[in-house]
């Protein structure tokens, strides 16, 4: 049986939930916890991965380099991973991560454009560091089993591990089951990354596990973009109940304790945080197949321009925006606002 890897994305995907404000104190305490709980991998950095700190998406409170350094210092058995999306990140960023001793490079982008990761994957190979392929917004390639082609392509790049990301949180357990049945023939490692917009993060992950995924992305308290990810405490409790032996190594008591303390740690570091919860806007974002991280931006701009949130989501959904196009959210919402209707007499709309 393949070794089960619990991959904790709290400090990376969770950074979306706090506007990328996680600081070195939190990183330090979290890494110490991850070691004690015997988690396999933890991922750190800006929500959109290395090199993504920017005015358009949000600036990280701490530069990538310092975060990697701190995490590296406190991790021994638990491996350190980063997320990298070419277009935000460049080879220069990867060099920095290699120098800081990152173990696993999770390189991905929206599934439809996956061929743009080739250069970064080859760079990792050349430098003898472990690269995983990440198919983000997986629902975009569900039609006609387009994903089979994409995974074949990733195999030709020499990748032995592929993470399926339900970035929009819109997949249903029955769909996940079907997908993993198809994936069995590939004989490589698969991982699953859930979002909880439709309340399915836990059961989607369990379906993935039962279908052969051996890498499970989780986060503490479900801390992540939009409605959050698969909540580690719940997932491991259930999986231990169902498959006791396979999950023996992970220390639940440590995880429960950290879950209790996590809020206090964030409070002490002045990081504002709401418990991940699927608000109507998160449900809508999944319904329109949008990236989970958009919800907070839509919320924000709807308030500024006094536009009905649901209408805003409908409009953005019809444009099929993808992660990285946060700047266009503002334009679309502006066009829906009264200000735009007043102005439109003189000038044309932006989009």
């Amino acid at each position: 049986m393949k070794k089960i890897i619990i991959s904790d994305v709290t400090l990376r995907d969770g950074n979306h939930a706090v506007n990328h404000s996680i600081n070195l104190n939190v990183v330090k305490q979290y890494c110490q916890f991850a070691e004690k709980a015997k988690l396999s991998v933890i991922e750190v950095g800006h929500g959109n991965g290395i090199g993504a700190s920017s005015l358009s998406i949000g600036r990280s409170a701490v530069p990538d380099k310092k975060i990697f350094k701190t995490a590296r210092k406190f991790l021994k058995k638990t491996k350190l991973s980063i997320h990298s999306i070419p277009g935000f990140s460049t080879i220069e960023d990867l060099k920095l991560a290699i120098d800081e001793g990152v173990d696993i490079f999770r390189i991905g982008c929206n599934s439809t454009e996956i061929d743009i990761i080739e250069k970064q994957v080859n760079f990792c190979k050349k430098n003898n560091v472990e690269a995983w392929g990440v198919l983000m917004m997986f629902h975009l390639i569900l039609n006609n089993k387009e994903y089979i082609k994409k995974i074949n392509y990733l195999k030709t790049l020499g990748l032995k591990t592929v993470i399926i990301m339900d970035s929009a949180g819109c997949l249903l357990p029955s769909e996940v089951k079907k997908i993993f049945l198809e994936l069995k023939k590939f004989k490589i490692n698969f991982g699953f990354h859930a979002h909880n917009n439709l309340g399915n993060a836990i059961w989607n992950t369990i379906e993935a596990y039962e279908g052969g995924a051996n890498i499970l992305d989780v986060s503490l308290r479900g801390f992540g973009a939009g409605a959050g990810n698969a909540q580690m405490e719940i997932l491991l409790t259930i999986l231990k109940k169902m498959y006791k032996k396979n999950f023996k190594v992970f220390d639940l008591s440590q995880i429960y304790e950290m879950s209790d303390n996590f809020k206090k740690i964030l409070d002490k570091n002045n990081i504002k945080y709401n418990n991940s919860f699927s608000e109507p806007m998160n449900i809508l974002s999944a319904n329109y197949g949008l990236f989970s991280g958009f919800a907070s931006h839509v919320n924000n701009f709807s308030k500024i321009y006094d536009v009905n949130k649901l209408k805003a989501f409908e409009a953005i959904g019809s444009k099929k925006l993808v992660a990285g196009q946060e700047d266009l959210i503002m334009n679309i919402i502006f066009n829906l606002s009264n200000k735009a209707t007043l102005k439109s007499k003189n000038s044309k709309k932006i989009l």
């Binding site: 358009s56 277009g87 929206n110 975009l140 196009q325 266009l328």
Partner: protein, 292 residues
């Protein structure tokens, strides 16, 4: 003048049509290596002056009496070999690099042709659309410390070369912005949008100043934008820049939408149209420089 285009991909063909429209050239020829490619078939079907002899055939076609403009619309990798072969011909002729490789002097036609070099690099679509704005705005905003260019292009308009070259695209654009505008601290982000129908190309530039911006600053910015929108239309008719304020008092954002002219490329591929438009505008500047 004569015009020789190397590469019959999307860019090469669109450029051929645009060059024809300018009426600056006596002869326009287009070259590639594979007469069975989609582009080659299009050239043959439309009676283009097409040759399947590649770079070697192109060298033979250089007219020694007349000034030649050699456009390289192949790929970043191929351009390196092409340039080696063409180097000795550049005393009189021009080599214009439309690939994202680093060969040639960074050039923005908006700011006339100051450089003496006959080897010209047209940077990238993001560079062509953002650099004129950054240069002009820096003049009225001395406290400008950081710019961030976010380009969204439709995924269909990004061919295999673009996809392989995402890294070169970012590095080349960043280095051109820093060289031509002096803003060393700048960031470039690119997104491919899979939506169907395709979205029009869109660039956002964030400008961050050290000092708070006041109403008077925004009046000045608007004035500059109006001038650029007007002047750049000489060669990029679909260019439209607009300003948006942000929550922060020292940051504003300008969005540029480029609707292509739809010559060969569809109009949503404004990203490619910027490069071909800039390339087709160069002969006018070169003519003025050499004959006036």
């Amino acid at each position: 003048m004569n015009c020789l285009i190397l590469g019959s991909g999307k860019i090469g063909i669109d450029l051929y049509i645009k060059c024809k429209k300018t009426k600056f050239f006596k002869n326009i020829s287009i070259f590639n290596k594979n007469k069975f490619s989609t582009g080659a078939k299009y050239c043959l079907a439309n009676n283009f002056n097409y040759f399947d002899t590649g770079i070697k055939g192109l060298v033979k076609k250089i007219d020694l009496k007349n000034l030649n403009l050699i456009y390289d619309a192949t790929s970043a990798e191929a351009s390196i070999d092409n340039y080696k072969l063409l180097k000795s011909y550049l005393k009189k002729n021009y080599y214009i690099n439309l690939t994202p490789s680093k060969i040639g002097k960074y050039t923005i036609p908006y700011h006339s042709l100051k450089s003496k070099s006959k080897c010209i690099n047209l940077i990238t679509c993001g560079g062509q659309s953002s650099i004129p704005l950054i240069i002009e705005l820096k003049k009225i905003l001395p406290s400008l410390i950081y710019t961030e260019l976010v380009s969204s292009i439709s995924s269909i308009s990004a061919g295999p070369a673009t996809r392989k070259n995402v890294n070169d695209y970012i590095e080349n654009t960043q280095s051109a912005i820093s060289k031509l505008t002096g803003i060393k601290n700048n960031k470039v982000i690119i997104n491919l949008n899979p939506s169907d129908p395709p979205v029009n190309m869109m660039n956002s530039i964030f400008f961050e100043c050290k000092k708070k911006l006041y109403k008077i600053d925004f009046i000045k910015i608007l004035k500059v934008l109006r001038t650029i929108n007007k002047n750049i239309k000489f060669y990029i008719p679909g260019f439209n820049a607009k300003i948006f304020k942000t929550e922060s008092k020292n940051v504003f954002r300008i969005t540029i939408r480029v609707v292509g002219q739809g010559d060969y490329l569809p109009s949503y591929a404004g990203n490619l149209d910027i490069i071909t438009s800039a390339a087709a505008y160069l002969p006018k500047l070169i003519y003025e420089k050499n004959y006036h």
